[in-house]
Subunit: 339 residues, 2 copies
DNA sequence: TTGTATGCGTTATCAG
DNA sequence: CTGATAACGCATACAA
C-alpha cells in the first residue's frame, strides 16, 4: 500500500499523458476543460488518493486559510467553549484554526505569536496573558496587514484595537438586581484581581444595581482575591467579619472562587449559612453536584463571544471593515437560575 | 507603520544589493558567509521585521514541522491535560501542534483528517470518535508515509497500529484492592459504554483484584452506563436493588458518572449512604467542593500519556523506529487518596 | 566568499 | 479545449 513517490499534479499528468495545467484545471472544474477529460482526471486523482499540498497553494495564493488563536489556557471552560463558537463559523468559511496556549506566560505568548506569523495566518484572535503589557509581538500582525481581534482579555487602556468582550457589567448588574428582588439588603461583592479590568466592570454593575434600587453601599461588603485559595478565604473572612453588617447574599467574580467561599463558610458553620444566596460568573455543569449550590449563575456565553470574534475577524480579512476602523463588540450575559 | 510590499529574501537582497542566496545563507548562519555580511543582513532583517514564510520552507523541505492532533472534545480535561504533555515535547523538538476536535462525530473526524493531510503534517496523534469503525481516513496517513499514533481511544481489535494507552486495568485493580484492604466485601463496578474497550479492561482489573483476594464475584454488583444521566441512574438502581447483596463500595468508570451515582444515592436517602466508599477514574479538582466526595481517585496521568504519544511519534518521524514495527505503550495510573 | 540556477507543488496567463 | 511558462518564497548544489 505504501507509495513513496508523492502524488502531485505532475505525477498525475505523467500518468494521464497530459499537461500539469490541464490536470489542475480539471480538478478545479474549469469550464474550459472537456467533460470527458475532467472525468478521467478526477477518477485518476481519486484512485491515487491525490491530496493537494496546502503549502504550495498558500505560497501561490498568499493566503493560508488559517486563523490563529492564542489563549491562556485550555483548562478553563470559558476558552474551550469559545473555541467552539470560533470553529463553527471558521469552518463554514473555509478557514482552519490553530490554537496555541500561552499558559499565561508572556514568553510563551510571544513564541506562539511568532509561530503563527511564520505560518502566515490570515487573522488572529487573542486573549492576552495576565502579564502582557507590551504588544510588539501582536502589533507585528497589523503591521503586516493581518487583522487581530482581542477577545475577553484585552489591553483595556488601548482603544486602537478590535475587541469582543462579554458584557460583564450587565451580567453583574442583573445578578445583583436579582438578589435585590429577592429582598436582600446586604449583598457582598467578591472581585477578582484588581489588575483585570473585568473586576471593575463587574463592580460597577454591582454598585449601579444597588444605587438604582436605593440599597445603601457599604465598603465592608466588597473584597478582592487573586484566585489563590488562601487569598480568597481571607477576603471572605473580611466580608463576613462584622456581625452588625453581615451579608445575606454574595456575588462572586468567578465560580471557582465562589465555591471556595461557600466551602469556607460551611466549614466555619456560619450561622445563617443555609440562608445565604450566592451567584458567580461561569455556570459550570458541576453545580448540580453541589450540596449548597449557588442560586444562579451568570452565563457568559463564551460560544457567542467566540462567534462574534471570528465574524468580525472574517469581515476584517475580507476588508468589509477597514482594519483601522476599530470595533468594540459586547456580548450580553444571561442569568441562569438553578433548581 | 503599515508596509505593503512583503519583506521577503528577495526584498532584503535588493535593499542590500546582494543575491537572494547570500541573504538566505547569512540568515541561516552558513559558515561560508563573511561575518560582516552576516551582520549586515541580520541587522536589516531585524529592522525590516523579516519573517520567513513557512509555506515556502515546507514546500522546499517537504516537511511541515507540524504535528496534528485529532481528539473528541476539548471540554474533557483528560484531553486538554494530554495536550499539555504533547506540546511540551513537541515545542522542544521544533514542532508546532494543530488541534482538531471531532466532537465524537465521524464526519467531522474525516474532515479534520483531510485538512491535516492537506497541511502535510509530519505526524498525527489521534483519539478516535465513539463512532469510528472504518479507518480509511486515518490509514491515508500511513500510506503516505506519515506516522500515526493512536492514544487512549483506539481501534482495539487492530494490532497494526501504534498505541499509547492508560493502563486502566492496573488502575482499576489498584482501586479495587484499596477498597478490599479497607475491608469491603461488596464492591460494585459501574462500567462505561460496552463498545469502549476500556470498559472491559477496567472490569478485568476489578475482577482480578477480587479473585486475587478471595472476594466472591457477584454479577448483581456490575452494571453499565453510556454516560447518559438517566442511564446511569437506572444502572445504579440495579446495583443497589437487592437488600441481601447491598454494595458498600463502588468503583466507577469515570468521575462524572460517579457523581451522578452519588447524587442519586443521596437523593433517595440510601440507609448506609455515609458508609459507602467510592472511587472513579479522573481526579477532578472539583472533588474538594463535594460534600460526599469519593474516597480516592484513579489519576490517569494524561500529561504522561500525551508525552509518550509525542515521543513515540517523533521517533517514528525520525525513523528511529520502523513505521511497520507497531508499538504499544501503557502508562500506569495512580491512586490518589483524598482528604 | 558570493552568485546563478533549479526545484518544491500549485495556479494563472497567454499562446496555440 | 489544451499546453507551455512564469511566479509564489525559500534553500541548496554548483559555478565563479
Amino acid at each position: 500500500m505504501m507509495n513513496n513517490t508523492p502524488v502531485t499534479l505532475k505525477f498525475l499528468a505523467e500518468k494521464l499523458k497530459m499537461s500539469v495545467s490541464t490536470v489542475s484545471k480539471a480538478l478545479n472544474n474549469y469550464p474550459t476543460i472537456n467533460e470527458y477529460t475532467k472525468q478521467r482526471v478526477q477518477e485518476m486523482a481519486r484512485d491515487l488518493h491525490f491530496t493537494p499540498n496546502k503549502s504550495a497553494i498558500n505560497l501561490k495564493e498568499k493566503k493560508s486559510h488559517i486563523i490563529g488563536i492564542i489563549l491562556p489556557n485550555l483548562l478553563d471552560h470559558f476558552f474551550t467553549r469559545s473555541i467552539y463558537g470560533v470553529e463553527q463559523f471558521a469552518t463554514q468559511n473555509g478557514y482552519n484554526v490553530i490554537i496555541s496556549q500561552s499558559h499565561d506566560d508572556l514568553e510563551k505568548e510571544i513564541q506562539s505569536a511568532n509561530m503563527l506569523l511564520r505560518s502566515r495566518v490570515d487573522g488572529l484572535i487573542v486573549a492576552i496573558s495576565k502579564h502582557t503589557q507590551d504588544f510588539a509581538h501582536l502589533d507585528q500582525f497589523e503591521n503586516m496587514g493581518i487583522p487581530v481581534v482581542y477577545y475577553t482579555r484585552n489591553p483595556s487602556f488601548n482603544l486602537s484595537c478590535h475587541k469582543v468582550l462579554g458584557n460583564t457589567f450587565q451580567g453583574c448588574y442583573q445578578a445583583t438586581k436579582f438578589l435585590i428582588d429577592r429582598r436582600h439588603k446586604k449583598i457582598a461583592y467578591l472581585g477578582g484581581p484588581k489588575m483585570i479590568n473585568f473586576t471593575h466592570d463587574r463592580f460597577n454593575g454591582y454598585i449601579n444595581a444597588l444605587k438604582d434600587n436605593q440599597i445603601p453601599f457599604s465598603s465592608e461588603l466588597v473584597a478582592y482575591t487573586d484566585f489563590d485559595k488562601e487569598n480568597t478565604i481571607s477576603a471572605i473572612k473580611n466580608l463576613f467579619a462584622n456581625p452588625e453588617n453581615m451579608p445575606t447574599a454574595l456575588v462572586a467574580f468567578k465560580e471557582p472562587i465562589l465555591f471556595d467561599a461557600i466551602k469556607y463558610l460551611r466549614s466555619i458553620n456560619h450561622p445563617n449559612f443555609d440562608k445565604i444566596e450566592c451567584i458567580g460568573f461561569g455556570n459550570t455543569s458541576f453545580i448540580s453536584y453541589l450540596d449548597s449550590p449557588p442560586i444562579a449563575s451568570i452565563e457568559e456565553n463564551p460560544e457567542s463571544v467566540g462567534e462574534n470574534a471570528i465574524k468580525l475577524l472574517i469581515q476584517l480579512i475580507n476588508k468589509e471593515i477597514d482594519i483601522q476602523h476599530y470595533q468594540k463588540i459586547m456580548v450580553d450575559c444571561k442569568l441562569i437560575v438553578h433548581g
